[in-house]
Symmetry: C2
Subunit: 358 residues, 2 copies
Amino acid sequence: MKQNRLNRVLEYMAQEKLPQILVTSTEAVYYLTGLWITPGERMLVLKVSPEGCALYGNRLFALEGLTGDLPLIEYDDTDDPVALLADGLKDGPVGIDKNWHSHFAIRLMQKKRSLELRLGSGPVDTARMYKDEEEMNAMRASSRLNDRVVDWLPETLKTGDTELGVGRRYLERGAELGAQGGSFDPLVCFGANCAEPHHGTDNTELRPGSAVILDLGFTLNHAASDMTRTVYFGEPDDEFKRVYDIVKAANAAGRAAVRPGVPVADVDRAARKVIEDAGYGPNFLHRTGHGIGIEVHEPPDISRSSSAVCRPGMTFSVEPGVYLPGRFGVRVEDLVAVTEDGCETLNQLSRELKIIRP
Amino acid sequence: MKQNRLNRVLEYMAQEKLPQILVTSTEAVYYLTGLWITPGERMLVLKVSPEGCALYGNRLFALEGLTGDLPLIEYDDTDDPVALLADGLKDGPVGIDKNWHSHFAIRLMQKKRSLELRLGSGPVDTARMYKDEEEMNAMRASSRLNDRVVDWLPETLKTGDTELGVGRRYLERGAELGAQGGSFDPLVCFGANCAEPHHGTDNTELRPGSAVILDLGFTLNHAASDMTRTVYFGEPDDEFKRVYDIVKAANAAGRAAVRPGVPVADVDRAARKVIEDAGYGPNFLHRTGHGIGIEVHEPPDISRSSSAVCRPGMTFSVEPGVYLPGRFGVRVEDLVAVTEDGCETLNQLSRELKIIRP
C-alpha cells in the first residue's frame, strides 16, 4: 500500500462519515497499491477501512506474493466472490466506487441486507486530485513525450491523409518512443470537421486549405497527457488567423489565472472572457477543461458550475476553442499543474500558428 | 426501434417477471435501436416496458431526429438526468443493466425508494444470443476480413519483430481494409510466452525456433470476429507438430459436435476429450469458447459448467489449446454459427500448420 495516499483517503472517509469503502476501478486500486490489475468481467475489490484493508481478486490475476502486507483474499471462477466480500464487511454504510458494475452492487445488497450502499468514490477521487511528487514527475514525463510527437506530427501531413491515418501515425510514433498507448482515441479533425467539438475521427481526407485539429495524449507510466494544437494545411485566410490568435490568447489567459486559492470557475471565466470580448462567445461550446492524472478525465470540471478551488498538486487542462459550423474550428489545449505560488504548464510545445505548405 | 428484437426482449422480460428494464450499454442500445451512442461519463438509458420505450440522452449526443417513433428525452449537463429517469419509472421492480455504473443505480434508488432494483440484463442478453439474418451477415463479413488479414500476417514475420509490433501491423492492415478497429487488443505471443494463455502482448522479440500464437479479431459494422492461428517461425520439432495436430483435431471435434439441441457443455467435452485422450488434458487450461456478437465476449460460456444449449442463430468460439510451461503453446480458434441442422464455421482460413522460414 502507498501509505501516505491511504492516510489521506482515510481522512476524507472520516469527513464523509464512510466507515468502509470498496475501491474497484483499476486506476483507483493502482493509486493505492501500485498494482495495475485489469479484472475484465471478474470482481476486483480493495476494501479500505480504518481497521484495515484487504484485496479481493481472482486467482487468475496472479497476485500472490505481490501484495506485501496487504491481506489478499483470492477466489476461483467457481466461487461466489460477492458472498466472500459480504462476509468481510461491517453492517451499515459502505461506500461503492462510482463505476463498479451494478450487478456486483445489486448482488451485494441482496446478500447482506444490513448494508447501506452509498456513493463512495469521493475519498479516493479527492486524494487523486492532489498529485504527490511521484505522480507529478510521471505527469511531466508523459506531457514531454506528447510535446515531442505533436511537434513532429504536423510535418508529416500530406494531401490525401485520412484523419484515422494521422491518428495511427501519432500512436505508432509514441509506441516507438515508449508510450503505453493513447490516453484516449486520437481526435484528428480536418476542415469543417474541426467545427464539431465531438467529431468522431474518420476517413475524411486532407485537402489543401484545411484547418487541422490534433487533440492527442499518451499514457506513460500510468500518467495521462492531453494536448491540442490546431495547425493549418495550406494558406489560412485572415479570419482563421484572427480566430487562432483569440483562442491562443484565451488559453494564455486561462493558464495565467491559475494559482492556489482561485476557484476553477474563475479559470473558466478568464479564458471565456477573451473569446466573449472578441465576439465569439456563442462559438465556445464546452467547458474550459478537466482534471487529469492516471485517467485522462478526472475531477474536477473546469467550468462555470464547478465549486472546486485551485490547490497545489492539482493538474488539469485549459482548452478553449472557437467553432464556426461548416467552416473551421480552433482549439488550443495545455495541461497545467497548480504550484505553491502559481502554475506550471506541463506542455512546452509552442502555441504559435504552424502553417504546413502542401 | 428494431421491432422484432424488441418483441423478443419483451417476451423474455415477461418470463423473468420484469415489468421494466433500463438498457444502458452502448452495445445493447445499438442492438435495439440501431444507434451507436458512446455516452462516456454521461447517462444513457433506453427504458423498455410493454407500455412503451423511451431513450434518455444528453443533448450533446445529438440524437434529435434520429430516433424516429422512439420518444427521446434529452437533458443538459446542468440537469439531473437520474431525477428525470425516476419520474418516468413505475414503482416496483426495475431491471438494471449489469454493467451500468453503480453511481447511477445508487442515486436512482435514493431518488425513488419505491423502486426495487434487480438485475435486468437477462432479456437483452438472451435475445442477443440468437442472431437474426442481418447480424449473421455482419458476423460473416467480419470473420471474412479476419481470415484475409490473418492469412497475410504470418508472411510478414521476421526476426526481431516484437509482439506489439505484429499486433499493430495486424490492426493497420485491417484499418486499410475497412475495419472499425480490433474487437480486442491483439494477442500475439512468441516462444515460451505462448504457454501462458493470459500472456500480455509485450516487446518480446521474435527469434527463429519459436511458436507464434496470433489471437486476433476485428470489429466490422459492429460485428466482432475472433480467430487464433498458431504458426511456427523456424523448423518445428516433432513434439510441436504432434501437439499442433492434437489441437487442430480438438478444434475440429468441437465444431463437429455443434448442432441444435446439443448442450454447449458437450461441445466443450468433445474438444477436451481429444486432448485428454492424447495425454495433454491437464495442459488445456481454459474453457473451450465464448459467445460473440456485437461484443467479443458475450453469453454463453462454452464450458463444462454452462447450462446453455445450442440453438439456431448462436455464434461462439471453439478454441482448444495445449500449454507446455516454459516451452510453447498451441491454440486453434474458429467461430461457429449454429444452423437449423448443424453448424457453419465462420472462418474459412486453413488450419494446416503454417511454417515460416526466417
